[in-house]
Structures are given as structure tokens and as C-alpha cells.
Symmetry: C2
Subunit: 341 residues, 2 copies
DNA sequence: TTGTATGCGTTATCAG
DNA sequence: CTGATAACGCATACAA
């Protein structure tokens, strides 16, 4: 069993420096309010005792934990993990720790509000659009607990958000393929519980119609954002008897699965079928063929969302209106697409 | 600015249920010590008030935060992110939250001990072998703060650890290639600050010698565990004028870079050069060619390390001796390797 | 079985 | 500029 060694408290420091605890506290939080000499003495005492502030006591007193709660559907996924990395970095710069929740259980809203109410975290960074609207609102929103939704559009427009325009981005993908001469275009969409999925699908359909292209039901198949489902989607298309000349996958992992499925069916990419992904995860540029994809500024999404949340927590945001930051996405053309004919 | 709504305290519940705060506390922590009827009334009051326990107060009182601190070099990396996912899940099952630290700054030891001493976390899960031994010891270790090191070997044998045998695994890789007829084998190693890197390199060298194979210096090149460095390593080999028939990369991402570099040089994998990776990240089986790699049980590493840490924290571990759990790794043979000749 | 009193370590208020 | 004091919300020793 661990030997419980005595952790020095502010009182120990005070004793050591021959001042009151209040003075020590002041040296730590607002040094300018303490005289040069006492400050020096206190700082020395802090060093000598090896004192570190007790956050539990501080949180209790200040009603703030200097901790953010980050909720994502799956931190193991490279897409989210990049964002998590950015959030941790940004939060750290502002003196905040990050508590990470992944794959919330049966009652995510309850779980999240417990976390927030319990004073373990000061605010919530939500990277999961699949949460129940109604309860989400009274959990956070305009006048509730600090909450910023990012990446996936929050079902409730009253919450602050940081996003790209998924619908418009999907339209640009279709335009790009159309410009390459493709007329028969398929789409592998993602989990429909994510609003961004639906936006991409909607963008796909909208632009197809706008260009006068036919949407073939057999070529529009749902996936679940992993490689296996991309592979499965292609198998379905193959089974249907005829293939599109281009496939737009709603994320890069499904695009990888699609390319693999194509090869399995004796088709080449981009020779026979062009493939476009979404997100631009690290491996996209190293896959063979290197994947053409819609780049999402994930680092920026994580950073900006974190900064916004901290501003809200610290009351720097005077505006009542929720902020909706829209970031730019950009198509990165690589080798998985080619001009038709 | 957010309207601060009144968060109910244990007092509010007590008032509502017409009992003392102590009774409410008891209902929450040891219900069996309270009479049926009062308990019912209190439970009802909890529901009515929407009470959630204040963790800050509880932590202060109990000297425990029910929170684990997880430190990894780069959470954005798919290898670590899988582990993180497992840790979060396991910790959650035991009622612990997980605070994640990534890319610690200049003085990681200081940073970590601050976190632990400040009562924000009860123990540390260390997935980074690059930390300074000496200070690590007085930070945690046998009789210090609860600490479990995983994945990378801790420099200090006094700390609990959960690992695979990297050296032995590397030897098996070489044996496998040798069995395929390869005699000219190269190695792309990783960051030398990681002990596991050095173990893999050592295993490579040991087995090469044991098999009477020549270690060609131009074919043993260091990388930094990302795809770019795998590509760079191959470029160096190519520049040296002659190539091995097989390359063992210390992780899958470098293996991907290696394969890409090979192709860039007009060489095929596995036609001209066989490639073996390490870790078995998700994309390994979907790459083209599917990558032969040493599978590390990352989920198990994360889970077992977490369980061990919690046991230590809760004092279930009576043994003074540090535990060293050694997990099995397994070579997964796919398409990036082939029999020579 | 339940209530009362106390203290965990900190910061803020208010005197001096 | 500094010190004494109270309060943050909870869990427990002790009393009833």
C-alpha cells in the first residue's frame, strides 16, 4: 500500500514564511498586491516546502475546476483524436485540464450534466451531434452551462458552434467530379444520427439535381464511417450489376474501404472509378492511390472551439446571441480521381 | 453571460426530505445504514431537487478525486488513441474520470507531480517511457504516488508496468523474414528516447547475429514513427546504392512510408522488397498491400493498466513488489511480405 | 437509526 | 500591505 506522505498546505508555507495563509494566497494569485520583501520570502517558502495548490479546495471555494469536459463519440478514431490533441494543447495554454469522455452510455445527457453540475468541469466541448435536442438545451445553451458544439452541427441552434459547411462542401465535391466529366456518381454516406452526415448527403443530392444528373438509388448507400462499411458499400454496388464512374465517400476511412472493394472487384481506382473522401486524415496522402479528399481544418476546429468555450466560462463573452463560427474546407486533389475519357 | 442557476446542495436535499445532511450523505454512500422509509424519502428528495454531488467538496473531504491522469506523447496518433479509448472505458466502469495530458512541456515531471499533488488526479497512467528516471521515482514508484507505466518500458524497474516484450517480438519478425528466405534485412527504427524503440532495435540486431546475417549500416536507419520518416528512410537506402530484400519498420506508419518510398523508387512491395510493420493499427489490414505486422494488444494494455492503477489507488494491492505484466504480441501475416525466390 | 459538530484547504471580506 | 475570520459542500466521529 502506498505510504501517504504529507502534502504541504498553504498553512505550511505560511508558517515557513512567517506570514498568514491569506498572504500566501495573495502571492500566488495577485503578487502585485504584496510587498516586494514578503513576496520573496513567500516564494522561497513555496519552493522550500514543495507546495502545490490543492485544486479540490480551490475548486470548492472558487466554484470552478479549471477543467473542460470533452465528449466525443469515439476518441480512438483518428479524426477525433486530432481534435482532442488540439483541444488539450489549447486548454493547457490557458491553464485548463481536459477530462475526456468517449462513447457515452445509455443516458448521455444525464451523464454529462452530472459531470458539469458536480463541479468537475466548468464547461462542455461537444463533438457529437447525436445528442437529444431538448435535454441538451436545458443542459447548456444560451443561458445554461457553458457549452460549445463543434464538428457536428448541434441540433439546437441556441448553442455555440464551430463547424464547416458540410452541405456546401459536398456540393463542391460533386461539382469537381462533374468538371472531370463524371456523370454517374455514387455516394457512401455515414451515420445518420450525425447531422453532418445528413448535410453531406443533402449537398450531394442538391448538386446532382442542380447539374441535371440522375441519382441512382443503388449508388447511394449508407455506411458507418469505418473502412469495413466502405468495402461493404462497394460490394452492394457491384452486386447491383452496374457501377458509377465516381464515388464520393463521406469520410476517408470509407473511401479507403471503397478503393479496396473496387480492387477486390477487379476495378481500378482511378482507372475505372474515381473516389473522393472527406476529412483529409493523415493516411489519405499516403494511401495508394493518394486520396482526393475534402480537407477539414481539424486542428483549427479544436482550437477555436476551446478558446470560445474558455471565453464563455470566464465571462468574456458579453453577447447573448450564440456564436456560429463557420470554417473553410478545401478540396485536396490527389491521385484517386481522374478525368473521364 | 451565463446565468448562474442555483445548484442544489446536500443541504437542499436534507431540507426537502426533512432530515439532516448527514443522513442524505449516508443514503448516498452506504444506504444500508439508513432505514427503509427515510431512504425512500431522501431518494425522492434527490430526484425532486435534481441534486448531484459536488465533487470538489467530496474530493477535498475524501482526499481523492476519482480521476486518473493519463499522459501520452501524442494522443493524436492512432496507436495511442486506441489505448486512450480503452482507458477511458475501463476507468468509467469503475467510476473514474480521465484527465488527459499530451505532449507535456519543458518540465514534464514537474507538471505531472503538480497534477497529482494538487488532488486533481489520484494516480498516473504513463504511456511515455521518455521521462526522467530519477524524478519519476520520487514522483511515484513503490511507495510514492500511484503510478502504472504501460506500452513503453519505464526506465525505473520499481514502477508497475504493462508491456509486451519488444525485444523478443522484434526477434520473431527477423526469424519470420529469415524463414521466408530473406538474408538482406533492413530496419527502420523509431525515436530513441522510447525504450521500446531500443528494445526493438536490439532484438533486430540480436536475431540477425544469431542467424549469422550481416547487419548493413546503410540499412538500419532511424525514423520518428511517422509516415514521412518511413519514406525518408527508404530514400536514404535507395541513395546508398543497394537495397535489402526485406525491411522491418518499428511501427506501421513508418511501414506505410516505406512502401510508398519503395514505389517511388520503382520497386514493388512485396515483389522486390518485403515489409513488416509493428502495432497493427486499423489501417494496416486495409492498406495496399495489406501490411504484415506485429500485433500489439492495445486495448488490453489500456484496460489492464487502468485496472492495475485503480487497484493500487484503492489499496487492493497488498504486495510491495511492483507488478510487471507482460502481454503477448502476435505476428499477423498479410500481403506485404513474400517468400524470396 | 439519526443528528450535531468539525474539519478538509482555499479565497474573499473586512479590519487594522 | 497584511492578518483574522468565515464560508465553499461534504463525510465522519461522536452523541443521542
Amino acid at each position: 500500500m502506498a505510504v501517504t506522505r504529507k502534502i504541504p498546505t498553504i498553512q505550511d508555507v505560511a508558517r515557513h514564511a512567517q506570514v498568514s495563509a491569506a498572504t500566501v494566497s495573495r502571492v500566488l494569485s495577485s503578487p502585485e498586491r504584496v510587498s516586494e520583501t514578503t513576496r520573496k520570502r513567500v516564494e522561497e517558502a513555496v519552493r522550500a516546502t514543495g507546495y502545490t495548490i490543492n485544486q479540490a479546495a480551490r475548486s470548492l471555494r472558487m466554484r470552478s475546476a479549471r477543467t473542460l469536459l470533452l465528449a466525443a463519440p469515439d476518441v480512438g478514431n483518428p479524426f477525433y483524436s486530432t481534435i482532442v490533441e488540439a483541444v488539450i494543447g489549447t486548454a493547457g495554454q490557458h491553464g485548463y485540464g481536459v477530462l475526456v469522455a468517449s462513447r457515452l452510455g445509455d443516458d448521455p445527457n444525464r451523464w454529462l450534466s452530472d459531470y458539469l453540475n458536480s463541479n468537475r468541469a466548468d464547461g462542455l466541448l461537444l463533438f457529437d451531434g447525436s445528442l437529444d435536442t431538448s435535454r441538451l438545451h436545458d443542459l447548456g445553451g444560451a443561458e445554461g452551462l457553458p457549452l460549445v458544439a463543434a464538428y457536428d452541427e448541434p441540433p439546437d441552434p441556441a448553442v455555440h458552434s464551430v463547424l464547416i459547411d458540410n452541405r456546401e462542401a459536398a456540393r463542391r465535391v460533386v461539382q469537381f467530379l462533374h468538371g472531370l466529366g463524371h456523370r454517374q456518381i455514387g455516394h457512401v454516406s455515414g451515420l445518420s444520427r450525425n447531422q453532418s452526415t445528413n448535410e453531406r448527403l443533402l449537398g450531394f443530392e442538391t448538386e446532382m439535381r442542380a447539374l441535371g444528373l440522375k441519382i441512382v438509388p443503388e449508388w447511394v448507400v449508407p455506411g458507418i464511417y469505418n473502412m469495413e462499411s466502405g468495402l461493404g458499400a462497394v460490394r452492394k454496388m457491384v452486386a447491383s450489376g452496374h457501377m458509377p464512374t465516381a464515388i464520393f465517400a463521406a469520410n476517408d476511412e470509407m473511401a479507403i474501404g471503397v478503393i479496396r472493394g473496387l480492387r477486390e472487384a477487379g476495378l481500378s481506382c482511378p482507372g475505372d472509378v474515381s473516389v473522393v473522401g472527406f476529412d483529409d486524415i493523415a493516411v489519405a496522402s499516403y494511401y495508394d492511390p493518394a486520396i482526393t479528399t475534402m480537407h477539414q481544418p481539424r486542428e483549427a476546429i479544436g482550437r477555436i472551439a476551446t478558446e470560445a468555450l474558455i471565453e464563455i466560462i470566464e465571462g468574456d463573452v458579453s453577447e447573448e446571441r450564440p456564436r456560429h463560427v463557420m470554417l473553410k474546407s478545401e478540396l485536396v486533389v490527389r491521385d484517386s480521381t481522374r478525368r473521364l475519357g
